[in-house]
Amino acid sequence: MEAPELPDIVGALRAVLPAECVLERAEERRPYECDGLTAFRSVPAVVVLPRTEDEVRRTLLTCHRLKVPLVARGSGTGLSGGATPHPAGVLLSCARMSRVLEVDPINRIARVEPGVPNLKISEAAAPHQLYYAPDPSSQVACSIGGNVAENSGGVHCLKYGLTVHNVLGVRGYTVAGERIELGGQAPDSAGLDLLALTIGSEGLLLIVTEVLVRLIPRPPCAQLVMASFADVQSAGSAVAAIIAAGTIPAALEMMDRKATAAVEPFVHAGYDLQAAAILLVESDGTPEEVREQVQEIERVLRAAGATALRVSESEAERLRLWSGRKNAFPAAGRLSPDYYCMDGTIPRKHVGHVLEAIERMEREYGLRCMNVFHAGDGNLHPVILFDANEPGSWERADRFGAEILELCVQLGGTITGEHGVGLEKLNSMCVQFSPAERAAFFAVKEAFDPDGLLNPGKLIPTLARCAEYGRMHVHGGAMPHPDLPRF
């Protein structure tokens, strides 16, 4: 796309927005150069910080008129480069649109602005013993607008669902400035389910300005069972056994020994460091329900070959056991200068197989990889440790990651369970989808945004890009020019 002269867009935005909404000095724009995936950086031409829906609309109209790209940003915690700015475009930050507009305890809903951090919603609902269920590990920081864009999950989505299951409606604007209301408090809505389409659309279809979420009663009681296993295969089978026994725990997470060894020294969660893998299985509900379910879980885990079991005896102990899991990424950061977190999903039955394949890849790429993941959903988070200062290290990590994702696709899974495609997984999209499927994605994009101005170049790879990636693959998996930055 031809980039317009810089002053044009800044001047045009200044003409329609209050002065403090528009940041143009280099040092003001710099902090927005990347999201949580720091390997991708580019400084936007200008940053807009609207406070109101109308300011969002004016910004969109301006971009639309001048044909300038626009990238929305929530809190910038995304892990796939979804919020990486366009160098000739506007970066629209929702950070100042962060009010909880309404909590209705009778209908059990909350209406919030897009920049509200996920956890703030539950805090606002807490006086009514209600909460918003999806709980990404980043929930202190990540925004509901970002959650909607990524269809984010959390450790409890096995039982309570993803963002798509808990968002009842959104209001947004097309790039042409048209106001679009989708869903709402009434469960039926006419026409196609554009709400489901918008959730997970990574800011390519609409800019979301208001979100209506469902609140649910906070379970009065929760208990966590930690189970140790002598090998990852049997831990994997135990996961399937729990589900097959007819129980859906509130959470069902796995950590391998590399992960427990990484977190234990600084979190002191009390993990069994002898175990090849541990499972963290949570039950929540009324005290009677939890008692019944925990007994059942213990029985199944024993039968599945658990070498040790520990059941949390107090809320403090439960939280301590969780703290290791929740701090897995920071722990990776202490072990290694850089880490790269992957996000494939596979049918549960293949968990053991994939973990073994990853071990083989560790040797092949000469990099370590620890595994922490949402085992109940088959959603893997291999964390590849590397050192960006070491030449070729990032490229190896990148290829290692891509190979894991290709294995996920081969096993009937997907290249991303919750972190999104963004810029990061464009190549892997070529593996998962045929040209006709990618054309259908472009068709959806064009229906909303014919000029391709919203978050251009993300989510859907072009034919040319996939052809290029295909050619690179022909060379036995070895990348040409591994030293050149490829993005």
Partner: protein, 356 residues
Amino acid sequence: MDEGDHAVLEAWRERIGAARRGGSSLRLRGAGTKDFYGEELNGDILHLGSWRGIIDYEPSELVISARCGTPLSEVEAALAAHEQFLAFEPPAFGGDPTLGGIIAAGLSGPRRMFAGAARDFVLGARLLTAQGDLLRFGGAVMKNVAGFDVSRLLCGSLGILGILTEVSLKVLPRPRLEETRRLELSAGQAVTAFNRWQGLPLPLSGAAWWQGTAWVRLSGATAAVRAARAQIGGDAVPPLDAERFWSALRHYQLPPHAAASVWRVSLPQAAPRIDVPAEPLIDWGGALRWYANVPPEIDMRERARAVQGTALHWRGAPPGKRFPPLPAAIASLHRRLKERFDPAGVFNRGRLIAGV
């Protein structure tokens, strides 16, 4: 897919190609249980019922994948053998609908507010397009955010974007214990009680009201159901009676569903009673209310809008006036999507939106 399968798909492709070239439209039909449903029925019938069979079902994965023509009874029997079920309880309308039709219509039963709607259980779909391409979206895994969520978009699309040839659905274990309580309450008291209970951690799986009686279904762990009894109060309903009631409600077979003119009003769960001289049948804990034989001078859409609801003229609607009208900006998104997926208007023309 064996040779016979290829022949079926090829035959469909030919019909699609012929319709496209001839400017005509195809009316996609599974078992025909929803022939009454939709805005307009246009085009020559394309029967999809022969493309049937469960492709993959592994209970420990909580996923079933089946071809669009697979009858509901076959899916439910396979699941029941492993103590699992379709938690969105799709209506059968007294027949045996196909899975494709169920997902294309996207209707959900009494568990809607407690377990989720049809679209919440859609994990993946295959779509045969107007260009004859067989596309796959989503998959057979619980979490998948690769690309736009087209499989959920297809749920409730009434076939206007293409032929759903296969779907993958999330299934759930059957609750250990299920029990129904019955209470004598007015409609207003029932809605208030339903909402109060839903704000508490109770294992509700149905909350309905009809003719002075509130029906409350509890499902879950034995201990949870037992503990909830006391909080709900009322009388225990004998299992057979309970089964009869929930089944009639689910399959739209209570008297109000069959009236000459029926409005289906969907609204915020705790919405006050709307100003209509008839008593509704209430489902979904208050969020779905059926009104039979409302005098024609009453503007139901307006009354529903007044409480942030929407009204669908379920039976007895004048042609093209069944579904609530779409706001202009949303209608134009629909037209643009249709133009891109099915530019010649081959599939179910006018079924979801008159003229589209």
